[in-house]
C-alpha cells in the first residue's frame, strides 16, 4: 500500500515535469488549432498575460494528440483546467449546439445532455434562453455520493462517468442540483458508429449502456485533438467559449480568443446556484444588451422535446 503510493507519486512527478515543458508551448499549439487561416503566413496568438501577438505560422507546430503514453482517462490531461463561458446575451435558442451534441454523442434517449432552458426569474424580469450542460463542478456532489467511484473528477477539472463500472443506483442524479444527468432506462438504440473502437470514458455515449448514467463530458476526445467541444463549434452565434483556466484564455466557435478573467470581470460573469458551493467550471455572462429578440428563439422552443427522432 505504502509502496504503491510512493510509486504513483513518483509517476505523477515525472509526468508533471514532462508536461510542464509541454505546457510552455501549449498556448501556441492550442491557439493554432483553433485558427481557421492556417496557411496565411502570420498567425495571431495570445500570450498568457493577454497580449495579442503575430507569429509566423511556420514557427508553430502541430502538437498532435495531447494524450501521451500512459494517459489515464481517470487522471485526465495534466496541467490543464478546462473552463467554459456561456454568453446568455448571444443565445437565441438556435439549438445547433444540442443537435451537434446529440449527434456526436449518439444520444437516442428522450433527454438531451445539453438543454436550452427558457428562463424567467420573475414576472417583470426579461425572459432569456439558458444553455445548460454538466457544470463540471470542482466540488461535485455527484462524485461525492457515488458508491463505486464510477463517476470521478479529473485533474483537468472534467467530471466523467465510467459506464463499465456504474451500478445504476442513480444517487448521482439525485445529488446533482443542475439535473444534467440522464439515465439509460432501456437498451440505447444507437447507430453502428457508437459501437466502433474501444470504450473510454473520454467519449461518453460511445456507446451508452443500459442501466447506467450518462451526461455531458466536456468532449475530452475533441480536446485531445486540439479541438473545441462539439457545442462550441456548432453554435452559429458564438455563445460558447472554451479554454484552459491556467492559460486564462477561452476561445469561441469563430476562433476568437478572450482573456477569461477580463471577460468575466467586464461582463459580470456568474455561475449557476453559486450558493450551493459546488464550484462549477461553467461561467455565464448575463443576458444584457442582447443582439437578438427573445421571441425569435421561441420558434425553435420545444417544451417537451430535446432529442429529435431520426428516421435512419
Amino acid at each position: 500500500m505504502q509502496e504503491d503510493k510512493k510509486k504513483s507519486r513518483r509517476k505523477f512527478f515525472e509526468l508533471g515535469i514532462k508536461f510542464g515543458l509541454l505546457a510552455s508551448v501549449g498556448t501556441v499549439a492550442v491557439a493554432k488549432a483553433f485558427d481557421d487561416e492556417e496557411n496565411s503566413g502570420m498567425i495571431e496568438l495570445m500570450s498568457t498575460d493577454g497580449h495579442i501577438m503575430q507569429v509566423p505560422s511556420s514557427e508553430v507546430h502541430d502538437m498532435g494528440h495531447i494524450q501521451k503514453d500512459g494517459y489515464d482517462p481517470r487522471a485526465g490531461f495534466p496541467n490543464k483546467k478546462f473552463v467554459m463561458v456561456v454568453d446568455l446575451a448571444k443565445c437565441k435558442n438556435a439549438l445547433k449546439c444540442q443537435e451537434s451534441c446529440n449527434k456526436n454523442h449518439y444520444i437516442t434517449g428522450e433527454n438531451a445532455w445539453l438543454k436550452v432552458y427558457k428562463m424567467q426569474e420573475s414576472e417583470k424580469t426579461a425572459p432569456y434562453f439558458m444553455p445548460t450542460l454538466c457544470q463540471h463542478c470542482d466540488k461535485p456532489p455527484c462524485v461525492k455520493v457515488c458508491p463505486v467511484d464510477a463517476t470521478f473528477k479529473r485533474q483537468d477539472g472534467i467530471v466523467l462517468i465510467d459506464n463499465e463500472r456504474c451500478i445504476g443506483c442513480r444517487f448521482c442524479m439525485a445529488a446533482c442540483p443542475y439535473s444534467t444527468r440522464v439515465f439509460n432506462w432501456n437498451e440505447p438504440d444507437q447507430p453502428q458508429a457508437a459501437h466502433t473502437g474501444t470504450y473510454t470514458p473520454d467519449h461518453t455515449g460511445k456507446p451508452s449502456v443500459k442501466g447506467t448514467v450518462d451526461k455531458c463530458d466536456f468532449c475530452p476526445h475533441k480536446i485531445d485533438m486540439g479541438e473545441l467541444p462539439h457545442c462550441v463549434t456548432a453554435c452559429p452565434n458564438d455563445v460558447y467559449s472554451f479554454g484552459d483556466i491556467y492559460e486564462d484564455a477561452v476561445t469561441n466557435g469563430s476562433g476568437q480568443t478572450f482573456k477569461l478573467s477580463a471577460l468575466l470581470k467586464e461582463r459580470s460573469g456568474h455561475r449557476l446556484l453559486e450558493g450551493l458551493g459546488t464550484e462549477p467550471s461553467v461561467y455565464y455572462l448575463p443576458p444584457t444588451e442582447r443582439l437578438v429578440e427573445f421571441e425569435e428563439g421561441m420558434e425553435n422552443y420545444t417544451e417537451f422535446q430535446s432529442v429529435k427522432k431520426t428516421e435512419e
Binding site: R170, A174, N186
Partner: protein
C-alpha cells in the same frame, strides 16, 4: 396435565392447517408474478417502471425505506423494552425479532431491485468508497441483519432443546431442533453466557438500529433537494420507523393469537400496553412532522413552496392528508380511549398505521424529485409526474409477500412465544430440572 407440559403443548410449533396452506400458496403466486415482472425488468431495463430522469427514484426506494423502518421494531421491543426492565413484552420479543429479520432481508433485496445494473453489485466490494452514504447503508444494514439474527437465535437455544425433547416421536424434526440447540442443557455456566450474550446484543443493537435508519434518512438528506435537505431527517425517520414497527407488531400478534389460540399468552393487557406505546410513538412522530413541514412552509422559499404546495393542495394532497390524518391523528385519538386499545379495534388502527406508514414513505420519496432547481423542460410531458406501473407494483407486492413468507416460515418452525422465558416468568420450570438446579 402438568402446567409445564401444557405450556409446551400450547407453544410448540404447529403444522399448517388448510388456511395456512392457502396462505402460503397465495404468497407464492404473488412472488412468482413478481419474479416474472423482475425478469422483464432485468431484460428490458428500468424502462418498464414509471421512473424517468426526473422521478429517478420511485416506489422501490420508498418500499425500501418502509422495510428498514419496520425492521427497527426488533430493537424497540427486544432491546429497548428489555433493557428498561419491562416484563410484559416477553411474549412479543420473538414476534418482533422475526419481523425485524424478515424486513431487513427484504430491505437489502429491494435496494438491489432498484439498481440499473444489479449484475455489477460486486463493484460495491471492489470499488466501494467510504464517502458515499450508500456504502454506509450497506455496512450498517449487514451489521444490523447479523445482530438481529443473533438476537433472534440466542433466546431460542433453550426452546430448541425443549422442542428436541417434545418432538422425540418425530426423529428428523427432533434431530434438527437438537442441532440448533447447540447442546443446550441449562447448566449454570450456559445460562450465564446466555444471559450476558443477550444483554450485550440488546445493547449493541440500539446504536446499530438508530444507525440503519439515520443512514437511510441521509441517503436523502445529503442531497440539495428541497423536501430532503433537512437536518431533521434522521430523527424524523427513526420516530416514523418506531410507529411503523409497533403497528406491524400489533397486526401480526393479533393474527397469530387468533390462528394459534394464544389468548392465554398474548392477553388484552399486551394490546393495551402496545396501544399506549403506539400513542406515544405517534405523538413523537407528529411532532417531527410539524418540524418537517411547518417550518419550511413558514419560510416559503420558492423551492420549498413548490414542493409543499404540491403536498398540501396539489396532486399529492389527497394522499398526504389521508396519511397524516388516517395514519397518525385518528390513531392517536382512538387509542387514548381504553376501548380503542382492545384487541380488535387496536388491530384495525394498527393496520391503518402500517398502511399509512407505507404511503408516508412514498410521499417522502417521490414528489421531491419532481421539483428540481432548474425547470423541467425538454422531456416528454409524462416525465413530470410519477406513478408506478403495473409491473412495478407487481415487483413491490412481491417483496411484501416475500417478507410475509419469511415470517410465515419462521413462525411455522419457531415457538412464537418464548417457551423457556415464559416458563421462567410463570415459575413453572420442568419438575425434574428444578431439583437438579
Amino acid at each position: 396435565m402438568k402446567p409445564y407440559d401444557k405450556l409446551i403443548q400450547d407453544l410448540a410449533p404447529q403444522k399448517f392447517g388448510m388456511r395456512g396452506k392457502i396462505w402460503i400458496a397465495f404468497l407464492l403466486v404473488v412472488i412468482l408474478a413478481a419474479l416474472y415482472a423482475y425478469y422483464q425488468q432485468f431484460d428490458k431495463g428500468l424502462i418498464i417502471t414509471g421512473m424517468r430522469d426526473y422521478a429517478l427514484w420511485g416506489v422501490y426506494i420508498s418500499n425500501f425505506v418502509f422495510f428498514v423502518a419496520i425492521s427497527l421494531v426488533g430493537s424497540l421491543v427486544t432491546a429497548i423494552l428489555r433493557l428498561s426492565g419491562v416484563k410484559w413484552s416477553t411474549p412479543l420479543t420473538r414476534i418482533s425479532e422475526v419481523i425485524a429479520v424478515a424486513a431487513i432481508i427484504m430491505a437489502g433485496l429491494t435496494i438491489i431491485i432498484d439498481m440499473g445494473r444489479p449484475d455489477r453489485i460486486y463493484n460495491i466490494f471492489l470499488h466501494g468508497r467510504l464517502q458515499s452514504p450508500i456504502i454506509w447503508d450497506v455496512l450498517v444494514i449487514t451489521t444490523y441483519l447479523l445482530i438481529s439474527i443473533l438476537l433472534l437465535y440466542y433466546p431460542l437455544l433453550p426452546d430448541f432443546a425443549i422442542l428436541k425433547k417434545y418432538f422425540s416421536n418425530k426423529p428428523k424434526l427432533s434431530k434438527w431442533y437438537g442441532k440448533l440447540s447447540l447442546k443446550w442443557t441449562g447448566t449454570k455456566k450456559q445460562t450465564s453466557i446466555y444471559n450476558s450474550s443477550i444483554k450485550t446484543l440488546s445493547i449493541l443493537i440500539i446504536p446499530v438500529a438508530f444507525g440503519i435508519h439515520t443512514v437511510t434518512a441521509w441517503l436523502f438528506a445529503t442531497t440539495y433537494r428541497p423536501g430532503w435537505d433537512s437536518t431533521n431527517f434522521g430523527p424524523y425517520f427513526i420516530a416514523g420507523a418506531f410507529v411503523a414497527g409497533a403497528g406491524a407488531v400489533v397486526v401480526i400478534m393479533f393474527v397469530l393469537r387468533k390462528i394459534y389460540h394464544l389468548e392465554n399468552y398474548i392477553t388484552d393487557l399486551h394490546f393495551d400496553k402496545m396501544g399506549k406505546l403506539l400513542v406515544l410513538l405517534c405523538l413523537v412522530y407528529l411532532y417531527f412532522n410539524v418540524n418537517e413541514y411547518l417550518i419550511p412552509a413558514y419560510k416559503s422559499t420558492n423551492e420549498e413552496s413548490a414542493h409543499l404546495e404540491e403536498l398540501f393542495f396539489g396532486s399529492y394532497a389527497p394522499l398526504f392528508w389521508t396519511v397524516i390524518i388516517g395514519g397518525l391523528i385518528v390513531p392517536v385519538i382512538a387509542l387514548v380511549f381504553p376501548k380503542g386499545r382492545k384487541p380488535l379495534p387496536l388491530f384495525i388502527i394498527a393496520l391503518l398505521v402500517v398502511l399509512g406508514a407505507w404511503w408516508k414513505r412514498y410521499i417522502i420519496v417521490t414528489p421531491t424529485l419532481l421539483h428540481p432547481f432548474l425547470p423541467i423542460q425538454g422531456v416528454p410531458e409524462s416525465w413530470r409526474h410519477y406513478f408506478p406501473t403495473g409491473l412495478e407494483w407487481t415487483i413491490t407486492f412481491g417483496t411484501l409477500a416475500s417478507a410475509l413468507l419469511i415470517m410465515t416460515i419462521l413462525f411455522r418452525y419457531l415457538p412464537i412465544i418464548p417457551i423457556h422465558e415464559t416458563a421462567e416468568e410463570r415459575g413453572i420450570l420442568e419438575h425434574d430440572k428444578t431439583e437438579t438446579l
